[in-house]
Amino acid sequence: MSVVIKGQEIELDEDGFLVDPGLWNEDIVEYFAKAEDVGDLTEKHWKVINYLRDYFKKFGIAPMIRKLCKDTGFTLKEIYELFPSGPAKGACKLAGLPKPTGCV
């Protein structure tokens, strides 16, 4: 499945996650924000998104949820308020990470 975002064709997987994390850009974030009911993106959102991206660049995977909370200073509840579908399915999608899978 693919969508056109600002004139660029972007391929998404079955769950709507970016197939190629290298294509990530801010327009895609805006698109995902709408799809995931995130609303207007604030500084807080960007703090989480940027943290996830940095971690992913370094380690090739999403960080542990508690580490994400600790390092960004948000509680899990606050993360859910920012990203209603949660850190794994919401925040990771906006940050262009692959969907965390396994027993989660």
């Binding site: 079955e14 769950d15 380690f59 090739g60 995977i61 999403a62 542990m64 692959p98 396994g102 027993c103």
Partner: protein
């Protein structure tokens, strides 16, 4: 008819060494594989002939009770395979046809299998209540195996297998990230206790190999922390292995060859580290695969295999535990209580850790599945998953106020919070049994 989950595509399959069978070969291959399994598994060959259609299983199956879909009655589900078996592998089915319940293979057969065998949680409750002990989970295991051999499997299973091949765990956590996670958990323990408790990775000459669920390195870190504190307290020479940071064995849930490869991995890791004891973490089906399947498929096994809850219960006398002021209940993972001989151990541990332990009804080997068992954790199946979890929700609801719901299995940990919030049940905290051990254990005397 459209299957309720995302199905792996050809390129996905190639990545894990599977291929799609052409449509015109499907019937012949299905019958061939079925014949092969019937001749390789006594359980399956008996099940194909023994059901009397008494219907007792209907009201004992949470899947049927939750979905109200006829094909989710265990006897009806098994019949999806049995009808094909009768038609192509028995004389009476060949000549008497629908009179004996035989059915032609058609273009809907495999879609039906994919749809309904992935609504069976392989929980074995039907086996517990069937007068003949017919275990529909065996038929589910066989049907999913045949489907995957034909290149038909959920994307979810494929993705997990690809991660397993790539990084030795279902989540796809690479070694540098494992190290980072372990360091983070060590810091957490240090902050809480002031002690330097290590989570060693790939440490050679370890006596004990601990195999946690990889979800313990993402969402359920208190389970890992609890285990680390326990090993520290007992002074074990232990390690985790980056080549198998995964107690779950999804092969059991869709392809038995993949299952055997996973157990090989466990065996190799233990042998290369020199471990004499393998301790399996909180994972239900993974425990069944390790305990019940290793001997037959991967044997001989020259080391001991024990479950963390069994190990912990055996060592209760050597631990100092302070009672946490909580009202706690236990959800018995199906593969512990009905397929893994882990039943009283978590109860002994919980009674030692908390003020009040209450049983849900029914419990132990009669417990209802959480509805996520056998890897039915696909997001796209959420609506069905909630129906599969209905009996569990009713059980928890009947208990009133609970401070902590113990569910010592990663699949349960992923499924039950969704179920409870779906049915509007509010529970302050949920997690593993080792999580509570970690909080109750007294380390500084």
């Amino acid at each position: 008819m459209k299957p309720p989950m995302h199905v792996a595509k050809e390129t996905d399959l190639a990545a894990i060494g599977f291929a799609v069978s052409p449509l015109q070969e499907q019937q012949q291959k299905t019958v061939g594989k079925l014949n092969e399994l019937v001749n390789a598994m006594r359980s399956l060959s008996v099940i194909m002939e023994t059901c009397t259609k008494c219907g007792i299983c209907a009201n004992q199956c949470h899947s049927y009770l939750g979905t109200d879909d006829f094909n989710n009655i265990p006897a009806a589900r098994a019949d999806l395979v049995r009808r094909i078996y009768k038609r192509y592998l028995t004389l009476r089915g060949k000549y008497l046809g629908s009179y004996v319940g035989a059915e032609e293979f058609d273009d809907q057969t495999l879609t039906k299998w994919l749809t309904y065998f992935y609504q069976c949680n392989e929980c074995r409750r039907c086996a517990r209540f069937c007068p003949f002990g017919i275990d529909t989970a065996e038929v589910t295991i066989a049907a999913r195996h045949i489907l995957s051999e034909l290149g038909i499997m959920p994307k979810f299973m494929q993705g997990i297998t690809a991660n397993m091949i790539k990084s030795g765990n279902n989540m796809g956590i690479p070694k540098p990230a494992i190290i980072d996670c372990a360091e983070f958990m060590e810091e957490e323990i240090k902050e809480e206790t002031g002690l330097d408790i290590k989570i060693p990775i790939d440490k050679p000459n370890s006596d004990v190999l601990y195999i946690p669920s990889s979800a313990d390195f993402f969402t359920n870190i208190d389970t890992m922390i609890g285990a680390a504190k326990l090993f520290y307290k007992l002074g074990l020479n232990w390690t985790i292995s980056s080549s198998i940071l995964e107690a779950a064995n999804f092969g059991l849930l869709f392809n038995l060859k993949v299952m055997s490869e996973h157990n090989d991995r466990m065996k190799e890791a233990a042998l290369s580290l020199g471990a004499k004891l393998v301790i399996q973490g909180e994972c239900g089906h993974g425990w069944r695969a390790a305990k019940m399947y290793s001997e037959g498929v991967n044997g001989p096994i020259p080391f001991e295999i024990i479950h963390i809850l069994d190990f912990c219960a055996l060592n209760l006398d050597n631990l100092q535990l302070r009672k946490l002021p909580l009202r706690v209940t236990l959800h018995d993972p199906c593969n512990y209580a009905r397929a893994g001989e882990i039943c009283e151990q978590p109860r002994q541990i919980l009674r030692a850790c908390v003020d009040e332990f209450v049983e849900m009804t029914p419990n132990r080997d009669e417990n209802f599945c959480c509805g996520g068992g056998s890897g039915i954790l696909m997001d796209e199946m959420m609506e069905i998953r909630m129906k599969l979890g209905k009996m569990k929700a009713d059980q928890v609801k009947a208990l009133g106020k609970i401070d902590y719901l113990a569910m010592p299995c990663s699949i349960c940990k992923a499924q039950i919070p969704n179920v409870l919030s779906h049915y509007g049940i509010d529970i302050a905290n949920m997690g593993g049994v080792m999580d509570l051990v970690g909080k109750a254990i007294v380390l500084n005397e």
